[in-house]
Symmetry: C2
Subunit: 190 residues, 2 copies
């Protein structure tokens, strides 16, 4: 996990400068606190102290811890996985599942997903899903462009995305390469 | 969701009496606070005040909010779903998936799962899985006793449990009866 959050353009009231530095400091504080001590309740005063900013600044900008976590998760899970182009649907899905598995195996990433789900509600859940649906849809669309007949997005989500997230978030079973390939082979039998 | 938590035998230092009443009051406070305001950070002082007990009592008994949430989730997700016996593997899995979908659709249940995942770490995750693996294994074992050759527990988890949890926790798509039947039919093609 990168420890320097790069400020998204136009995310604050003023581009760059102090606003961007505050956002970067607060995002970093969230990621560090979540990773270091996931059992501790996150509060805005604690986060603000860690980031070295006034709590009122955090309240004014994000409102609640849930919205702040959703913002951090959105920034973390956007553009994190490049849609692969291996020349076949099977190859693309295997590469994608493998990349996502590696991402979800990172303890800091997993801690952020769990914390965001825990306190961010629907908004947090959407932030954790990130661009996964669009990424899968791009893979399926490429297969259609090749003249293939890929499974639906719903079916692909149930068969590949869901087991990856379930195993990472709800179990301590490892997300092995063999297992991720199995998910794809059940979706696309020979 | 039932609003009276029944004390588990032997859960406290003294059976029944004050110890059981404290446990019931604290469990109820957790379930109410999680359901009412999932975006608010849960802290032991807030929980204790809601339950009408001293914070030191909660610290002494549960240690952390994470352990407390895992205890509440374990109690909530134990014995909540009866393993069905419909006479066929397909029937058993369809009934089980439908019962679990109904359970996960309950907003209070979903709030408890999310909160427990968020702050309970591995222990919380295990509490949310509850007896699901054993329940599925019982369904598969019954099929073997009928002389059938059911899929493995891992495959059944990936195909049925994982999409139910993923859809409930990470999306706002509905867990419809048609969709839960589809999960089983992909696992057990005709």
């Amino acid at each position: 996990m990168s420890t320097t959050a790069s400020p998204a353009p136009g995310a604050g009231s003023r581009p760059g400068g102090r606003s961007a530095r505050v956002r970067a400091a607060v995002h970093l504080a969230v990621r560090e606190l979540v990773a270091d001590d996931p059992g501790e309740p996150l509060t805005i005063p604690v986060l603000a102290a860690r980031a070295g900013v006034h709590a009122t600044t955090v309240y004014r900008r994000w409102g609640t811890v849930g919205e702040l976590l959703a913002d951090v998760a959105t920034s973390r899970f956007s553009g994190d996985i490049v849609v692969p182009d291996t020349g076949s649907l099977r190859g693309d899905l295997e590469r994608y599942a493998s990349d996502l598995a590696k991402d979800l195996c990172d303890p800091d990433t997993l801690a952020l997903v769990r914390a965001t789900i825990g306190i961010g509600g629907e908004q947090g859940a959407a932030a954790c899903r990130g661009e996964r649906q669009q990424q899968l849809e791009a893979i399926l669309e490429r297969e259609r462009a090749r003249g293939g007949q890929p499974p639906t997005l719903e079916r692909t989500t149930d068969a590949v995305l869901a087991p990856l997230y379930y195993r990472a978030v709800f179990t301590d079973d490892p997300l092995t390469p063999e297992w991720t390939r199995t998910l794809v082979s059940h979706l696309l039998p020979d």
